[in-house]
């Protein structure tokens, strides 16, 4: 097999590519040949977009994201990330372009200190010296890890460990970031840090793909939701459209955020908005109460 040419830098690749992710008719069959995990999936994601992927367990969400960073290669179809077709590329090559935060931080933490953990990813992709120190410092500041920087990652609480896991990928500064169930096992404080992270990264132009069962999180943060069922994408719309679609929610055994359910049963029939957050519903209710004097 002819050796593939070296990849452009993430910045060059991003500048040269029209879309962040282009998946065309991708199919993935597990090596045993019995399980079709993805069946003819096509999706295009723009640079800087905040995308949520939802679906029942086994619907193909994780398989799709693993195709994106090269952990799996499509059985047929193509996956192009930052203009780079992933087929034939190693995960290590793609890691500078696309970061993948695993659900369980225990699967990726090994170093003796949080500091060393944050440095591991960037050093693997050739970042050193001042730039490395700056990246680590920025992550420490943003995630509030100053007090645990010299601690062993396994000596800190699980929510903080999860933040260390996310920070260890963020320091690689990929132009696309995949978060697999980022809010699982998190308290309110760390969940809000993750919310802010996703928004901030998107503002900076990073494409964020979030796989989650946490509907309030997605309703609050993402701009677009993909719904998967039986290895296919069955809906692709804004969170407002997706969560208001009761037949879709019923068909996929998913539940819209409670606040949206309440809005659908109260203010929506009266011409009010499909609220995604408590603030939206409160605003509408407040306006109605004040208009009644």
């Amino acid at each position: 097999m002819a050796k593939k040419s070296p990849l452009p830098t993430p910045a060059e690749a991003r500048a040269a590519s029209e879309h962040a992710i282009v998946v065309s008719d991708a199919r993935y069959v597990y090596p045993n040949g019995k399980v079709v995990a993805l069946n003819g999936v096509s999706v295009t994601v723009d640079h800087g977009e905040l995308l949520g992927i939802i679906g029942q367990n086994g619907s193909g969400k994780t398989t799709l994201t693993k195709l994106l960073n090269g952990l799996l290669q499509p059985s047929s179809g193509t996956v192009v990330v930052n203009g780079i077709e992933t087929t034939g590329r190693t995960v290590q090559e793609m890691s500078a372009h696309i970061g993948y935060v695993f659900q369980n931080p225990n699967h990726q933490l090994f170093a003796r200190t949080v500091q060393a953990e944050l440095e591991f990813g960037p050093t693997n992709i050739g970042i050193e010296g001042e730039e490395l120190a700056e990246r680590v410092a920025r992550a420490v500041e943003f995630f509030g890890l100053k007090d645990v920087i010299d601690e062993h990652p396994y000596r800190v609480s699980f929510p903080i460990r999860k933040l260390v896991g996310i920070a260890s990928i963020v320091t690689m500064e990929p132009s696309i970031l995949i978060l697999d169930e980022p809010s699982t096992g998190q308290d309110h404080q760390t969940t809000s840090i993750i919310n802010n992270l996703m928004r901030k990264l998107a503002e900076q132009g990073t494409t964020v793909v979030c796989v989650s069962h946490d509907m309030p999180l997605l309703a609050d943060v993402v701009e677009r939701v993909i719904v998967m069922k039986d290895a296919q994408i069955i809906a692709d719309a804004s969170p407002r459209e997706v969560f208001a679609d009761k037949p879709l929610m019923a068909r996929t055994n998913l539940q819209a955020p409670q606040i949206t359910e309440i809005a659908l049963q109260t203010v929506v029939p009266l011409g009010g908005p499909i609220a995604l957050t408590p603030a939206e519903l409160a605003d509408d209710l407040g306006a109605r109460l004040s208009s009644k004097g």
């Binding site: 960073n69 952990l71 290590q92 090559e93 890691s95 699967h107 933490l109 090994f110 591991f120």
Partner: protein
Amino acid sequence: MQGALPVSLIPGDSVLHRVHPLPKMIWVVLYVVVAFMTQNIIVLYGMAVLALLLGVIGGVVKPLLKAAFIIVPIGSSLLALQLMAPAVEQPWTQIAQLGPITLYEDGLYYGLVLLGRIVACLLMALVVVMTTHPSDLFTTLAKLKVPYTLNFMMAMTLQLIPVFQREVGIILSAQKSRGMKGNGFQAVLPSFVPVFVGAIERVQQLSISLESRGFGSAGHKTSYRQVRGKASDWFLALLAIGVAALLGTVSILRGGWNISGLLVVEPATAVTVWVVSATVFLGIIALALILSFRKS
């Protein structure tokens, strides 16, 4: 996990899967006993072929050969070293000289005996593990009055192997996603620290969970799974005991049943075996080193 050694139950419904675990355990014990009583390489390699045939009957020959691949580095190093320094009493019979290296006829035969023992016992043990549900094994051992804690530890070990293999796969994926090279010694620390930590955490949680579900309580313990043997299962066990007793007796009567005197080994054969085994062994080490230090 893709590429993992399949050292666990391979689900199936073959004749071998349906055999009661006790006769299968008896086969393994008898294999070990006979293998260490005899020095007859025909018997030893015959036992290995029989285990392979059982693997074919059980429909597990592919994973069996995959798992048995571990014999290659062990076997090649064994043969190469035995040819140079046999693990038998001197005097040794010199068969060839390769520069400063002297090869001995006794070493070739004894190396084949040692390799045959490993191959036969390993294949048989793997066939039994791959065709027996750990819970059935647990139930059987419980009926044999094996101490509950010891029995549980054995069954849990077998059940945790595939869990840890899957864990290793996920961890390697996570580290590769962080740009780590996935091969060689450089991958050891980033991969195995999470595996060990995960294993320790899992064991801690498991022990608490077991205690909270009355694991240490006294009294009679029942089993959800019921294992019943058929007449054919006990016939197979008795047949195995009979054959093993025969082979064992002949081996004792013939002082180990060493048939090296019947074999004529040409110097060229000994040299070929040594060159091939040493090359394979050193090749595996070289490959491991290259993968470790190769730039990604």
